[in-house]
Point group: C2
Chain length 265, copies 2
């Protein structure tokens, strides 16, 4: 079962609610959790400060996607023997570098390293950006050129678009972050909003291929929609929301199949 | 570095706050995260419903320790190949069985199974029970006989003491849950409160040894203190908080060294 199918199955069960967006919204607070797994999201040979900072930055990208301000985080760390005290301290220094108060967490031994970051953010109540609120006719934007991280072998540090997210409150009709790749993430946004999308131009990072820009993943840019044209520095108009089969995406008239980097496969 | 030393090191860093209790307290909300790791907290041969229910029950025990009511949870699951769709669905059924709304989480592949549960609870503001507020002269109690889980090879399902936790609001001077063993958990409470403890009797579960009751871990009973004697069904008076070297515990006059089940070693 693919991740998307498992999430759909979970949503159908009793005692679940609010599942499927970048964060869970409760009043003026939003909550996200993100796993960072050895061999999936980083290599054992990566610098521990880098791994720590990336762990939190991935969570902050979800906070940015909601248009929220980060308030605090908790970190759970399952630690294998190879991650000695020096490594773990440097990892925590990487987490703390981003100036989000660390307020708790859990520690365990394990045979491979798994970190789970929990981030709580805040927006004015009712102002959180969602992915299920795009409407036919809306313009579609991304916050930067795509494919750079795939081009560089996923060695780049995510730069959470917190400032842009804040600016999009009250302006964007829907928003999410690009973690798994434009084709699959836009597909998810369209499914959630019960709309289709027609794309006409993709901003490709210098030296990256169009495939890397469409399916590469780990861009951590924002993907957002607006009923009115938006003039903001550094953003790219890539197409429009249209009526049609929920989740169907076309690029210059040809169907674009969702084929992003999906951890759960 | 032992878990306790690593936590102390983390608390000394910039950008940390509120670390060291069962939950982080923010206004009327409390937050906890708990890792459940294959080979540490469960065996691959355990029933998946059991593992799922235990994953959440461990978090709920922390919520009980704060005197809070659970409000919602998020679950991150790093899933190895052996955990097939049937296993994962049964695992989620175990989580959902406890009637706490599941509102989000994350999924990833991994080579061993790691689950991280996040639970948010609520108390009247300022009423959360803490572990750093015990005072010399207080009575010390536990909520049941100890050592049963160690006696049974850690096969028992934790029963979070949520109802008792609620009753202790405004009554207990300090509280925490017994997850790693009475000797180490009481040591932590005493360190946090800058007090010592003098114990005189330990309620040992039928068929368990005194060592299992003192150091066995995974009892998930509440350990709490009160300035006045408490009359509540099923609780046991085990001794008193005293002035002295922070963290020092004696049992019938002899020093009791903290020797609980410590995952991080």
């Amino acid at each position: 079962m693919r991740e998307l199918d498992l999430v759909e199955w979970i949503k159908r069960q009793k005692n679940t609610r609010g599942i499927g967006d970048d964060c869970y919204i409760r009043g003026n607070l939003v909550f996200t959790t993100d796993l960072t797994v050895e061999g999936v999201h980083f290599r054992r040979t990566d610098k521990p400060e880098f791994v720590g900072q990336k762990t939190l930055a991935r969570g902050l990208s979800d906070i940015a996607a909601m248009g929220a301000d980060p308030r605090f985080c908790l970190l759970s760390l399952a630690r294998p023997k190879w991650a000695d005290d020096k490594w773990v301290k440097a990892f925590f220094r990487g987490v703390l570098k981003l100036n989000v108060p660390l307020t708790g967490g859990d520690l365990s031994s394990a045979s491979e390293l798994v970190a789970d970051i929990v981030v709580c953010g805040e927006t004015p109540a009712g102002k959180a950006l969602r992915r299920d609120t795009a409407k036919p006719g809306d313009h579609i934007y991304v916050s930067g050129r795509l494919g750079a991280n795939a081009r560089d072998g996923y060695s780049r540090m995510p730069k959470p678009r917190l400032e842009l997210g804040r600016k999009l409150r009250g302006r964007a009709s829907a928003c999410m972050d690009l973690s798994d790749g434009l084709s699959i993430d836009l597909h998810r946004l369209c499914i959630a909003s019960a709309v289709a999308a027609s794309l006409d131009q993709i901003p490709v990072a210098k030296g990256a291929t169009i495939e890397q820009a469409l399916h590469g993943g780990e861009d951590y840019e924002l993907l957002f929609t607006s009923s009115k044209p938006l003039k903001l520095p550094g953003i790219f108009h890539i197409g429009n929301v249209v009526k049609g089969k929920a989740g169907l995406i076309t690029l210059n008239g040809n169907q674009l199949r969702p084929a992003g980097f999906e951890h759960f496969r």
